[in-house]
């Protein structure tokens, strides 16, 4: 059984630093298993968020060797024995304790985003939607809200002041998904994306796409088309044309 040296960020409030733990690692273990082993045997009060341990709930986000990842989907055999491994909290959000941060920023943005306003159902009370019309949106619905894309986004990561005026990649794909939803009739969401969500601040460095554990093409399929539609809204001719075709205007 190989032994690994883990450097886990510990502390609370304003004071913290890496604490070293030596841990025996079994076949197939992931970083979250190692954290649990430290809890059970060396530091029972080591604070960490987790739920499903299968990459589906997005609770155990952390920065492992500096890279934003899910602890439950990061296998220990990525590392070589003897290699020092650091585990730190996602740092774009206020720190609470050890590996836990205050992610309430995301829940505030979620509440602000104008929700779906569906058109009425057909006579039989159901809706008809074609698979090809929802494939792209289903991709956005894969989001597990791990907020790694938010964590890595330099607009807010290094600029606390931008949080007030920037919703972040998670909520751009949420907005894109709603905007492209076949049932949606909302006209004011794109204005929100531009004026409140601050999509203009995104300069498409694709960091969010790179860290997405669900491999959602956040930038190419979500943000860029959204930016284009927002830009079209500003263009009176395109806007008029859309109205003429019965498409959504804003």
């Amino acid at each position: 059984m190989p032994t690994f040296t883990m450097h886990v960020f510990r502390g609370e409030g304003r004071t913290g630093g890496f604490t070293e733990y030596k841990v025996d690692v079994d076949t197939g273990m992931v970083v979250l298993d190692v954290i649990h082993r430290i809890q059970a045997t060396q530091a029972q009060d080591l604070a960490v968020r987790w739920n499903c341990k299968a990459g589906k709930c997005g609770s155990c986000s952390a920065e492992i060797n500096g890279k934003p990842r899910l602890m439950c989907m990061t296998r220990m055999d990525l590392f070589t024995e003897g290699e020092a491994i650091t585990v730190a909290p996602i740092r774009a959000f206020p720190w609470i304790r050890d590996l836990v941060t205050d992610v309430s920023y995301n829940y505030e943005k979620a509440r602000q985003l104008p929700p779906l306003r569906p058109k009425p159902p057909e006579a039989d009370g159901t809706h008809r939607m074609m698979q090809e019309d929802i494939d792209r949106i289903q991709e956005f619905h894969k989001c597990i809200e791990c907020f790694l894309c938010q964590d890595v986004c330099h607009v807010i990561r290094d600029h606390e002041e931008n949080k007030k005026v920037f919703a972040g990649p998670r909520f751009f794909i949420k907005a894109a998904g709603l905007d492209m939803h076949p049932l949606d009739t909302r006209e004011d969401r794109r204005a929100w994306v531009k004026d409140v969500g601050g999509v203009g601040l995104c300069n498409i460095t694709k960091c969010c796409t790179e860290v997405c554990p669900e491999h959602i093409h956040i930038t190419d399929n979500g943000i860029i088309p959204l930016k284009e539609r927002v830009a079209d809204d500003m263009d009176p001719i395109v806007s008029l044309l859309r109205k003429f075709r019965g498409q959504k205007t804003s």
Binding site: D45, R49, G55, C57, M73, Y107, R111, P115, L116, K142
Partner: protein, 600 residues
Amino acid sequence: MANHEYETHEHDVIVIGAGGAGLRAAIEAAAAGVSVGLVCKSLLGKAHTVMAEGGIAAALGNVWPEDNWQVHFRDTMRGGKMLNNWRMAQLHAQEAPERVLELERWGALFDRTKDGRILQRDFGGHRYARLAHVGDRTGLEMIRTLQYHGIHQGIDVYMECTITRLLKEGDRVVGAVGYWRESGKVVVFKAKAVVLATGGIGKAWKITSNSWEYTGDGHSLAMWAGADLIDMEFVQFHPTGMVWPPSVRGILVTEGVRGDGGTLKNSEGKRFMFNYIPEFFKGETADNEEEADRWYADKKNNRRTPDLLPRDEVARAINAEVKAGRGSPHGGVFLDICTRRPADYIRKRLPSMYHQFKELAGVDITSEPMEVGPTCHYVMGGVRVDADTAQSTVKGLFAAGEVAGGMHGSNRLGGNSLSDLLVFGRRAGLHAALYAKNFAGALTVDAGQVEQAARQMLAPFERAGGENPYTIQSELQETMHTLVGIIRNEAELKEAATRIERLKERARKVRVEGHRQYNPGWHTALDLESLLAVAECSAMAALERKESRGGHTRDDHPYTDDTWGKLNVVLRWKDGRVQVSREPLPEMPAELKALFQERK
């Protein structure tokens, strides 16, 4: 000491738990015009519902127009070996389609049929393809839809807040006490009605698909407040959990793999399920491979593949194959879809299974079989409720979803959980709101009860020399796994009861390190109380029921017994102890009984 020093919130209705049932209950209560608080142990949107993969069972009849609520009702009752509360099963089958359509109106995007309607997939025990789904991440779609609909309904959400006691005034529930996980501070909720939607108890077992949250909180809170629990002996072991590597053992592999054409094979390459078709299901199950394979496309002229027998049957069969020495290298059996369906189809239909095996086990399921084995998944038993109102036997206390008992009888069919959450979540929210509107007298909570709960919460910090809570938790999991597992007997169950008693003793002296702020050691210590309580309930009910049925198999009483088929095992808290009794099952009316005579 007066309780005014504690942070206090007041609502007409509080809902404890924010998975599918809790969210749906909160939405309905808010729609009824009352003030609603939604309290959850984790962050919003992280509840166990996200783990549900296969789909929501509802007789929409989109793929098979022959399907209707009567067929769904019949499948559900047969899957539960007729021990279900018939009225719950009826309401569930009748209302599930509307609940699915409602989810769609709130933004859920299910996979579509060619003509643009909701596509439905095959699942174990369902006569027709019935599960509305989104690939293999249906639960995620459901919770996200409810979450984003719910946050605009004026519901106050209390995240990362654990409830440890319900508050009572006379014979009615009037609130709850708990603590904020982040600060460790005590918080009091005054409420005219309380809805429990806390999920299950699976964390009491070693190999489980359930997360840390599944510690039976709602079951225990209800029992301690005087409510009845029923059917606690019935625990579902999902037949297909991952078995390798050890660290992922127990993680769920959706039944959708078999629904979409996958088959179970033993080490000899044989499709062994044909050897395990019980008499009860012979009439509707294919007895040869050709018919089983034809069934996927032609359900009218062929019987269902035995790979899709109800979960209890499949779990026992896998258990028997492994015991007979025909298991896979790591103690499971093989689940093969790669030789049966094209790689593109597998990736499209089962994307998260594909990633799960690729990333956690290094297995490519489009070219290799999976290794799978039973994992503790779901408890059929729970709070005894009135079918129509979801009210427990205690006034003002409602329960919905996994924490409620009766709906699934002795075994739940796959896909019936998500629909259960929606149907009874809505009913619980509605009736809790109505109850709150008719609440008579002043809403007052007893400071003494609050104080006692607060003292119990903080006790682990004041002890010296006790044990680490994780040690006790893992010994309990080992005990339940070896002695209250898939196959049980009297001697082992008695031994389990003795060991649980000793663990309770040790848990009372458990020691916690550090301070109250976000301290998982402390949280685990507090969760132990409910975890041990539900483990005890499950072992005692299992000892009481001297027959085998659904999710309860006794090798000393290997057959189903008609006398037991008319009885629920009921558990009640009396004088600080669990009391066990047997009570008659509600009798099904004649017109519903007739549904079972039409077709064998």
